[in-house]
Amino acid sequence: MSMSTSRIARAVAAKDLRIELRSRVVTNQVLPFSGLVMVMFAFALDNDDVLQRTAGGLVWLATLFSLFILVQRTFAVETYDGALDSLRVAGVNPQGIFIGKSAALFVQLLMLESVLFIAAVVLYRVNVNGSGAVLLVTCILCATAGLAFVGTLYGGLTAGARGRETLLPLLLLPVVAPVLICATRATESAFRSGGVTVGEGWPWVAVLAVFAAVFGLGGLLSFGSLIEE
């Protein structure tokens, strides 16, 4: 990564996080929303055994729902007053924009997931041992990186489109399905739900890492073209 790309990425990430700190969309809107989703799942399933077994999937499903809001928000700040156009006309390296926006999204998702996993422990009474915690943290990091890359990529693609609010979930859901599946399996292993062992979770984490690498690389190569008119 060149100095210029790194400088742009840091500036974009710092700007996005500063805007989030000021607007408090994650803390005031996304967190309550995903918390409510977790509680509604608990009401709907209403069975401790089922909840413990499905806790991983429910956390990741709540994360995916929240991802749509976060991605739309992160590109709304760019398109509201034409900043994305200004970045393009200023010849700002699109790779720097992609890395910066992905990094900011990664941090916000990580904050959200931390709260959701704590909520899962409290609401669904799951527990995790030492080796399970290592698996869980690695799974969260890989899955979040994948979600941040793919979210930024598709957010850029739909940023200027009409009906982007509905278009984004339609495009994004099928693409993030592998993350949902792999992260859920790995999390079930970390929680040892349904008799699975911690060791069984690592191959799923490997797939998550490959997913993140593919979309990270794909984003670096194609983000510039995607944000063009």
Binding site: I19, D81, G82, D85, S86
Partner: protein, 216 residues
């Protein structure tokens, strides 16, 4: 195309939403000129500015800006062009200082250049700490111009730069444009405020239905 030509369009065609917004524009702008684009709404003024900035593809004809052939490569020219469109390109949640700082960082401008741009636009001091969302239209425009100044662009493309400004703000814009030209830049202004813009411009170009009708 002469060595001094900054813009050289010959029969250039650009399509916007399936409609030929530029329907064969022929226009030459020389270095250090201030050219006023005038014409009714929908005449293609904004499209022409966006095409010159490399934001809109020119699908037919000749389109050279600062020596770059825009029909082949629309991206290389962008680093040398500054566009102030209808929108300001600012972030409402950030302060003036943070906005100018962000744009300075991404274009690689120095702290001295940033400070100087803010002073020139009279958006320094206490005002610099106010969030953009709390500013008047004129203050936002001045902030956007400060972000443009730090770019050190060779070609300034200004779309309705006087819109929303009071008399003092309009005078400031004119002063900044003259300063930019004095330092070697070329300026193309699209405006409905003909009298004011004509005082500023060295030449007026009339656009009608995506074509240049008159140049004097």
């Amino acid at each position: 195309m002469s060595a001094n030509s900054v813009i050289n369009f010959v029969d250039a065609v650009a399509v916007y939403n399936g409609y030929p917004a530029l329907a064969g524009v022929t226009l030459r702008v020389e270095r250090n000129e201030i050219v006023l684009l005038q014409g009714p709404n929908g005449a293609g003024k904004s499209t022409l500015l966006r095409a010159c900035a490399g934001l809109m593809p020119v699908i037919r004809g000749t389109a050279n800006v600062l020596g770059f052939d825009l029909t082949v490569d629309r991206e290389s020219v962008r680093e040398r062009v500054g566009l102030l469109g209808h929108q300001n390109g600012l972030f409402g949640e950030l302060t003036i200082a943070e906005n100018v700082s962000f744009w300075s960082t991404v274009v690689g401008a120095s702290t001295a250049e940033r400070t100087s741009a803010m002073e020139r636009m009279s958006i320094d001091g206490k005002l610099a700490e106010r969030r953009v969302s709390e500013l008047s239209a004129g203050q936002k425009r001045r902030c956007a111009l400060a972000c443009l100044v730090v770019r050190r662009a060779e070609l300034w493309l200004l779309d309705e730069p006087h819109a929303g400004l009071d008399a003092k703000g309009r005078d400031e814009i004119d002063h900044i444009v003259k300063e930019a030209v004095a330092s070697g830049a070329t300026v193309v202004v699209a405006s409905h405020e003909i009298e004011r813009a004509q005082q500023l411009a060295t030449r007026t170009v009339s656009l009608v239905a995506g074509q240049v009708r008159d140049s004097q």
